[in-house]
Amino acid sequence: MSGAPLIRFDNLTLGYDRHPAVHHLSGDIAPGSLLAVVGPNGAGKSTLLKSLVGTLSPLEGAVHTGNLARVDIAYLPQAAQIDRSFPMSVFDLVAAGAWGTAGLFGGFRRKQLAVIHEALTALGLAGFENRTIGALSGGQLQRVLFARLLVQDARLILLDEPFTAIDGKTAADLLAIVKRWHGEQRTVIAVLHDMDVVRKHFPQTLLLAREAIAWGPTHAALSADNLLRARRMIEAHDPRAEPCAHAA
């Protein structure tokens, strides 16, 4: 964990309609980190990921992602945002991961097709290629989205609640993929709710409750004291408060 950070948050304040959801966050993420972002509902976890994807501009401060290009970042949105009634095959949704290299019109080269099939196999989806996405269970859809992340082959992987509402077997399989990425020196940042999973598998944790309550080694960040402070922070929040009560 030495050398230049992959990501640097510099006094970052994020929000919607001028109401901040994340306050004055500063800190570094080293390349190859496996970082869990946890915190109560409304703590700004998903918002933070969006700022890394580049779809949300900071109200104040900045996110520095240095030399990361768009194709270096793979993002898994919350599953609920996907229109599962769309008449599209599993193969096509996974193939969308090759967008960055295939471009707007390009056909898929043999190598890309091989990558797509490999990804489907790695997630136990061989034979599902021609199913429509509407016919999948929640766990199967999440496997498909992980296959798409594999195809994207990115240096930074952002996961928004990847293990929510799926069965234990699927969660274990997907966690194995996350660990594989970690072993390959990719940087993984995951928004998670299950503290047991975080404690067991994620070395680093950012406990977020609009501001960073704790950030560091997981066992220290998730102390009972810190968790209580995080909960109080959200409960005490007044939505009609001044845009930024906690002046810089």
Partner: protein, 303 residues
């Protein structure tokens, strides 16, 4: 009918062929109507498929109303002439689409409510302008079109719009699909999302303006939405639904024109009614999602 002039042509098969083909073989205006409405159907179906999948089925209807004041202003300035009316329709359609989208972005109103507000204003304005001058016959032309009186100009316009639409759809196909299925993912890999949405809305307006001359503003939407909705009952794969919607639209044009000829019905509405009949049949018997198949006992394990 009276066309059985030659006694040799009264064999049953030739009677049927006569019934199905001769209206088009004998009358140039029927051939023109067929080709012009085919051009509309070929582009309208695919546009309709995307409208439906993007949960914008009623947007087509709203936009069809929204183009009216532009068409009316064109009519007021230049009379019943294609160029100015088309241009006016395009301007009004784009204005409403941009205003509705813009207001939704900067205010608390969502895009559907914003669009409803602007199209109602636009429609009322359009009817007022039409009523300033001209008889009800002219208004009927604007509203219900004149598929049986397509001039060269109109044919070229409709064919041009159709060609442009298919080319543009092919161009934006991937981002448009992704923007519909998984907009969060598209935003993470590309900035094309909003631009693609606007291009798509422009294509909707273009096709409605193309359709108003043939079918009228009110019925142009029918050839867009009915074949598209029908296609979903036959396939759960968008790459099949797109050509299928165009084919079903063409079938509606042919059978609608045939019915209008033999039964002496208004051509525009009869095309849309034919599309409606195809929709009802698809709804019941479509092999992918038709209702009748649910009544049949199914194999326990099926894919």
């Amino acid at each position: 009918m009276t066309r059985a002039r030659n006694p040799a042509r009264t064999r049953p098969d030739t009677v049927i062929a006569d019934y199905l083909i001769s209206p088009f073989a004998e009358f140039a205006f029927m051939r023109r109507a067929l080709v012009g409405s085919f051009a509309l159907a070929i582009a309208g179906g695919p546009i309709g498929v995307f409208l439906m999948l993007r949960r914008m089925s009623l947007v087509g209807d709203a936009m069809a109303h929204a183009i009216l004041p532009g068409v009316a202003v064109g009519y007021l300035i230049a009379g019943l002439s294609l160029g100015p009316m088309t241009l006016g329709g395009l301007v009004a359609g784009f204005a409403v689409a941009l205003l509705a989208g813009g207001v939704a972005r900067v205010s608390v109103i969502k895009e559907d409510a914003s669009l409803a507000a602007f199209y109602l204003i636009s429609l009322a304005l359009g009817v007022t302008i039409v009523s300033l001058r001209g008889s009800n016959v002219d208004l009927l032309h604007v509203l219900f079109g004149s598929v049986l009186a397509l001039g060269d100009e109109a044919m070229i316009l409709v064919a041009g719009i159709s060609t442009l639409t298919l080319a543009a759809l092919a161009l934006i196909y991937r981002p448009l699909v992704l923007d519909t299925v998984d907009p969060g993912f598209l935003r993470s890999v590309s900035r094309a999302g909003p631009a693609v949405h606007m291009i798509f809305l422009a294509l909707v307006v273009l096709n409605l303006v193309g359709g108003f001359n043939a079918l009228g503003t009110l019925l142009a939407v029918g050839l867009m939405m009915l074949p598209a909705a029908s296609s979903r009952f036959w396939s759960a794969d968008i790459s099949v639904m797109i050509p299928l919607s165009a084919a079903l639209g063409m079938l509606a044009c042919y059978s609608g024109l045939l019915a209008s000829y033999h039964l002496n019905l208004a051509a525009g509405p009869s095309i849309v009614l034919a599309a409606g009949a195809i929709y009802i049949i698809s709804l019941l018997a479509g092999q992918a999602a038709g209702l009748l198949w649910r009544l049949l006992p199914k194999a326990h394990v099926s894919r």
